[in-house]
């Protein structure tokens, strides 16, 4: 079996008195794409937040051999975990270019950063056209592209994607998922993808977990889950 870049054991999380995750075990293979599927309120977003230290957690989270549970978000990010958050997290008053520059905040390799700017503008030419524009004026799709690019400017080993297809036109979703595949294959960025659009997610991912009210219900290869008629009907809704 391939080594895991992220390994999570008995993960519990809560917001105040409300328990959201009740002991989850999952992992992401190095260079792989794992997807977490589930209905609204199953705890998908919370799982990603837990990995990034944005909620109080119990349990073990190991990233590239280092325990990261209990660490502050900034430190986890600096180890190479980039997060495309729910709601996109755009710096709305800053320009597109400044948003990208912030993505590379922790890096000091100027020439490499300049090359990465060009690479992002290559993936998303729209961002180049609008690079001087205030990011808050971009369309939803453009802001999602910006959020993904900003995360990639970190040169992460692991990319956490929180519903990247949310609110976007199908054509843009296609485009975005194509780019995820390219990034995964050429840059060997591992990904943990949370999605409502199960069909798209299963086509991209190699491994899948089905979440129900804070617990892993079923896990397996993405192919298996996608092929299983009863799972598809009952849980994935397509």
């Amino acid at each position: 079996m391939a080594t895991k870049v992220l390994e999570v054991r008995a993960l519990k999380a809560q917001y105040g008195p409300t328990k959201v995750l009740h002991g989850m075990d999952f992992g992401v293979e190095d260079g792989g794409i794992t997807t977490i599927l589930g209905a609204n309120g199953a705890g998908k977003t919370t799982t990603l937040r837990a990995v990034c230290g944005m909620v109080r957690t119990q349990g073990e989270i190991t990233f590239a051999g280092t325990r990261i549970d209990g660490r502050v978000t900034e430190s986890i990010v600096r180890l190479g975990v980039a997060h495309v958050p729910d709601g996109r997290g755009t710096f709305v008053n800053l320009s597109v270019e400044e948003n990208l520059r912030l993505g590379a905040h922790t890096r000091r390799d100027k020439t490499e950063i300049a090359a990465d700017f060009e690479r992002m503008y290559g993936y998303f030419p729209r961002l180049k056209e609008r690079r001087r524009q205030q990011a808050g004026t971009l369309s939803g799709g453009e802001q999602q592209m910006l959020a993904v690019s900003r995360a990639l400017m970190l040169r992460p080993r692991l990319l956490l994607l929180d519903e990247p297809s949310f609110g976007l036109a199908p054509r843009i979703v296609q485009e975005l998922f194509e780019i995820f595949r390219v990034i995964n294959q050429t840059d060997r960025v591992s990904m943990l993808l949370v999605e409502q659009n199960a069909a798209m997610a299963l086509r991209l991912a190699d491994h899948a977990y089905l979440l129900e009210t804070g617990r892993v219900l079923i896990s397996g290869s993405a192919d298996e889950l996608g092929r299983d008629e009863s799972i598809r009907r009952s849980y994935l809704g397509y």
């Binding site: 990034c52 944005m54 978000t73 990010v77 958050p85 997290g89 912030l102 993505g103 900003r150 995360a151």
Partner: protein, 289 residues
């Protein structure tokens, strides 16, 4: 006409001081959405440090830069030690901490340096520059220094990576953490910068108002008026507001008498809040419901 011109020019000189303090207020406001009531007292305390250094024989400009550095460190320490623990507490708790800070700094200055009014030296010659009749060298010099400070601050925020990170942390702390910015330190740095700007303002105004523990109380009020007039979330607006308030205060003061000068600030504050709460350049906040 001569009198009016003189009033306008010296109004610009004090306006520069108001602009600096207003800018310090806006910087803290942008990061925390709170007005730091202790901003003036911090500046006063820093001015006492400068005075002590000069008394101890340190040359003026060395004392000036040393004080700015000490004020910066003091601002950082105050944020880390006193403000940070109450950061996520209700607004009222934080306001009380700010007011406590105001009272503590004020009493501390009185206790250490006594309430006796002290003269403070000006680095500029006593004879007016270029033999002009309108404006003293100190006024001209302090306008110059204010403009240099404002330009430096502008360049720092606009063109340096650290400045960008500080702007980001103020706007969107959550996303800032997700790109690895240490948001807590950015806030502390903001406090340090605000305190440093305040120190320059205090040192520049001390020769005119004389050094005493309450020297900044009136100035803080004018700075509030300036920040509100320009828009409490607009650094450029605060600076322009400072100069407008300075000139207005002087010109109106010369017409209705100096006793009522402070009223100008209060009328402005109330006027802005009633007619245009977002100020001249502030953003009007529209919330989706």
């Amino acid at each position: 006409m001569d009198v009016l011109l003189h009033q306008i020019l010296s109004g610009l000189a004090t306006g520069g001081i108001y602009a600096s303090v207003a800018l310090a207020l806006v910087m803290i406001y942008q990061a925390t959405h709170l007005v730091n009531f202790a901003q003036g007292e911090l500046a006063m305390f820093a001015t006492y440090i400068a005075w002590s250094l000069i008394q101890a024989g340190v040359p003026y400009w060395a004392a000036f830069f040393l004080t700015v550095a000490i004020a910066f460190a003091l601002g950082v320490v105050i944020e880390r030690v006193i403000v940070q623990p109450v950061e996520d507490k209700p607004i009222l708790a934080v306001v009380i901490v700010f007011i406590a800070l105001l009272v503590i700094l004020n009493s501390l200055a009185g206790w250490i340096f006594t309430y006796t009014i002290k003269p403070f030296p000006s680095p500029f010659p006593t004879a007016p520059l270029f033999g002009n009749r309108y404006v003293s060298s100190h006024e001209l010099g302090s306008i110059g220094i204010t403009l240099v400070v404002l330009a430096l601050i502008f360049v720092f925020f606009r063109f340096t990576p650290l400045g960008l990170a500080m702007r980001a942390a103020a706007q969107n702390p959550v996303s800032s953490r997700l790109v690895g910015i240490r948001v807590g330190w950015m806030l502390a740095l903001g406090w340090g910068l605000a305190a440093a700007i305040g120190a320059v303002a205090g040192i520049m105004v001390a020769p005119t108002v004389f050094l005493e523990p309450n020297m900044m109380s009136g100035i803080l009020l004018y700075a509030f008026a300036a920040a509100l007039l320009g828009g409490i979330d607009s650094p450029g607006g605060a600076v322009l507001g400072g100069f407008i308030v300075g000139v207005l205060e002087n010109v109106v003061g010369s017409i209705i008498g100096t006793e009522l000068k402070l009223t100008v600030a209060l009328v402005l504050i109330v006027g802005v809040l009633v007619i245009r709460p977002s100020g001249l350049f502030g953003k009007v906040h529209v919330t989706r419901v």
